[in-house]
């Protein structure tokens, strides 16, 4: 079983991200479960959602206490709560920030210490450029795909197209692609952030056909 916790704020599409993640696993024939944290969250309040992948029926209903991976949609959460709480040894994390992995580690002692297990992605900049909406979910899921290999970009694109339509779907897919590539380009460069945001690259590619970036390109990280 592979368990993912997504942290964000109300209005940032955290629950949708959890569902997109589950859908992407489901499309690949895996057993999945997506559980939003439940509450009377209002816009801007911290929100958490859980996604599980497994190869057999998922029986448990507990919240994920020991995630294999954490996705942080809002960097302001890093200073207010321990988003890495319970992360398994060797677990991985994607953080939406311009800061470098080491800058994050300096602020958050529980952030994955090993090289190549903490990916920082300027997802806000990416979605501003390619989506035009401040919803970084798809970009972060693209980054997650690159970091963990748990889902493929094709499956993610398919899921996005099930949930969104037209330009919004394409914008999300493009954001996911860019973030995916960002992780491939930057993972392991622990001191490199994106202080100036990102430069626009042309990703106006048609849907998914040209997208596949081989998962083999993901740096080999094993859970020691």
């Amino acid at each position: 079983m592979f368990q993912v916790v997504i942290h964000g704020r109300g209005g940032q599409g955290v629950v949708t991200a959890s569902e997109l993640l589950a859908r992407s696993g489901f499309a690949a024939g895996r057993q999945v479960q997506a559980i939003p944290s439940f509450g009377s969250e209002r816009m801007g309040a911290p929100v958490v959602a859980y996604t599980r992948f497994a190869d057999s029926k998922i029986l448990t209903r507990e919240p994920i206490l020991a995630p294999d991976a954490v996705i942080v949609q809002d960097p302001t959460l890093l200073r207010t709560m321990n988003v890495f709480d319970g992360l398994v040894p060797g677990g991985r994390a994607v953080v939406n920030t311009r800061e470098s992995p080491n800058e994050i580690r300096a602020a958050c002692p529980d952030a994955p210490a090993e090289s190549g297990r903490l990916a920082t992605v300027p997802a806000d900049d990416i979605v501003r450029e390619y989506l035009g909406r401040p919803i970084p979910s798809a970009a972060l899921l693209g980054a997650f795909a690159a970091l963990t290999g748990q889902i493929t970009l094709e499956a993610l694109a398919q899921s996005i197209q099930k949930v969104f339509k037209g330009k919004v779907a394409q914008g999300n897919i493009n954001s996911a692609n860019v973030a995916y590539q960002w992780v491939l380009d930057h993972l392991g460069q622990e001191d490199q952030g994106a202080p100036g945001g990102i430069e626009h690259v042309d990703v106006e590619r048609p849907a998914t056909s040209e997208l596949p970036i081989p998962i083999a390109g993901v740096p080999e990280v094993t859970n020691a």
Binding site: S18, E19, A22, R23, F26, Q31, V32, Q33, A34, I35, P36, F38, G39, S40, I58, L59, T60, R61, E62, P63, L65
Partner: protein
């Protein structure tokens, strides 16, 4: 076809497959996604010939359901928590009128303090209402159960609550399979009510019944509920056959060894309802390897209560652990009271574990700890899983703090964490100490000592953190008589048994 669906949306589609004539509801979390999805299906023509009514309260929701059902329509509504209580008068009326209404209860706690999260206090508070209460373990069962529920309701002409844990199931997305329209149509014939408002045969429904016939009407209702067991079992089996796969069952007995048999010596029988049994199953598989052998008895049917099946499934287990998702204050778990009655003559120790109130997560770790404690005889007769000892501990030094001791805690005062095994102190003292339940003294049960070392406890949970010392003492006083009634569970057993 397998699909990834949110529980609520899946249930809404299952309801639509039953072709209801009338859907009405009043919004309350965590039921909302179900009725929202149904409103879309009615508006976009997906669900044809169906009237969707936005009512002004849950009381109206059940009342409209009563009228619609009395007129011969297939009716659906959904609610939870406070909403269920707000419609309580009409709930009893619907069952008394023998109307085959199906209602989803997205199980949620009851306030105060207000809490929107999951436990089973709401539907269990209506356990004597004359409605059937059927529980789903997961969203697949929730889907299946809504179709099965109409079959049962319409065959015996009684209303059914389909209970599914709020948020934990309603808001979770799972891989599920909906039956096809053809399968549902073949399984569930059009409604042919036993009695309805009819122009051809005008009858009066809901007449006053005097003392000369009232007992008899209740006797017949009681018999109908008992006969429901057979109808439920048949409907469940028929549905499984219709869809050609495993489906919901009124009682499911499971062990990690996958043997189809009751519990036996050396094993613990674990009894519960709803989604907690999925988590328990996951925990049990691991515990088995550690020598903690369990047999899980998952109750799909709470009303009627399948006492005989439960008794048989308990078999010769060493002990029984009941996972209680609802609490009778001053008495103990609601479900365990039913279980206790069904196993009265077995002589097997029973532990009530009150777990997951108001959305407190029930983790595999805590379940495992509880079952390990049960295995080695360290589990109390009434336990509160993951109770935060520090939160129920008084911080105000003005309230008398007594050392754990036998006997004489001041009546009504915040009691000492006494409850030492065999404590002979006043019942109120023992009762207000978590882990040292009032009922402990009823049987020769090994009772786990309360966690000692902390200061005194308060019974004033409702005013946590705000009450003055005086208020706390007052509420403890108020609680004392009820808590002191330690014979209540057994006495009621005798009365009702």
């Amino acid at each position: 076809m397998l699909e990834l669906l949110e529980g609520s949306k899946a249930v809404a589609r299952a309801v639509a497959l039953t072709r209801p004539d009338v859907v009405c509801a009043y919004p309350i979390s965590p039921q909302t996604h179900i009725v929202e999805a149904l409103s879309v299906m009615v508006r976009d023509g997906h669900l044809k010939d169906c009237d969707y009514i936005n009512v002004e309260s849950e009381f109206a929701a059940m009342s409209v359901s009563i009228g619609a059902s009395a007129a011969g329509g297939r009716v659906y509504t959904a609610t939870a928590s406070q909403g269920l209580l707000y419609m309580a008068e009409a709930i009893y009326n619907a069952s008394g009128l023998k109307l085959p209404i199906v209602m989803t209860v997205a199980n949620r706690a009851l306030g105060a303090p207000i809490n929107i999260w999951n436990d089973q206090s709401d539907s269990l508070s209506q356990r004597d209402s004359g409605w059937l209460q059927l529980f789903a373990v997961d969203n697949q069962e929730a889907i299946d159960l809504h179709v099965i529920a109409y079959k049962i309701a319409e065959q015996i002409s009684l209303p059914v609550m389909v209970c599914m844990d709020g948020f934990v199931l309603t808001h979770a997305s799972d891989v599920v399979e909906l039956p096809t329209q053809e399968q549902v149509d073949a399984f569930l014939p059009p409604l042919a009510p036993l009695e309805k408002l009819s122009l051809k045969n005008p009858r009066s429904m809901g007449m006053m019944a005097g003392p000369d016939v009232f007992t008899e009407t209740k006797y017949l209702a009681h018999q109908a509920m008992i006969q429901a067991h057979t109808v439920i079992a048949r409907a469940a089996a028929d549905f499984a056959a219709a869809v050609g796969r495993e489906s919901w069952r009124p009682v499911r007995v499971w062990g990690p060894d996958l043997e189809d048999r009751p519990a036996r010596q050396g094993e613990i029988a674990v009894i519960g309802m709803g989604s907690v049994m999925g988590t328990t199953q996951a925990a049990a598989a691991r515990l088995w390897e550690q020598g903690v052998k369990t047999r899980l008895i998952t109750l799909g049917s709470y009303r009627p209560f399948p006492a005989r099946t439960v008794r048989e499934a308990i078999g010769t287990a060493d002990r029984v652990v009941v996972l209680d998702r609802a609490l009778m204050l001053g008495v103990g778990g609601v479900l365990s009271a039913d279980v206790r009655r069904s196993m009265a003559r077995l002589g097997i120790p029973m532990h009530s574990v009150v777990a997951g109130l108001g959305g407190r997560s029930i983790t595999e770790r805590s379940l495992a700890k509880t079952l390990r404690q049960a295995k080695v005889g360290e589990l109390g007769e009434l336990e509160f899983m993951d109770l935060k000892q520090d939160l129920v501990t008084m911080s105000d030094a003005a309230v008398p703090v007594r050392a754990p001791a036998r006997g004489a805690a001041r009546p009504g005062a915040a009691a000492a964490p006494a409850g030492a095994p065999g404590a002979e102190g006043p019942d109120d003292a023992a009762a207000s100490a978590p882990g040292a339940p009032a009922a402990a003294a009823d049987d020769a049960m090994p009772t786990k000592p309360a966690q000692t070392g902390g200061p005194a406890l308060t019974a004033s949970a409702g005013s946590l953190g705000t009450a003055t010392a005086d208020e706390k003492a007052t509420s403890a006083d108020g609680a004392a008589p009820a808590a002191g009634d330690r014979a209540a569970p057994t006495a009621s057993d005798r009365r009702e048994g």
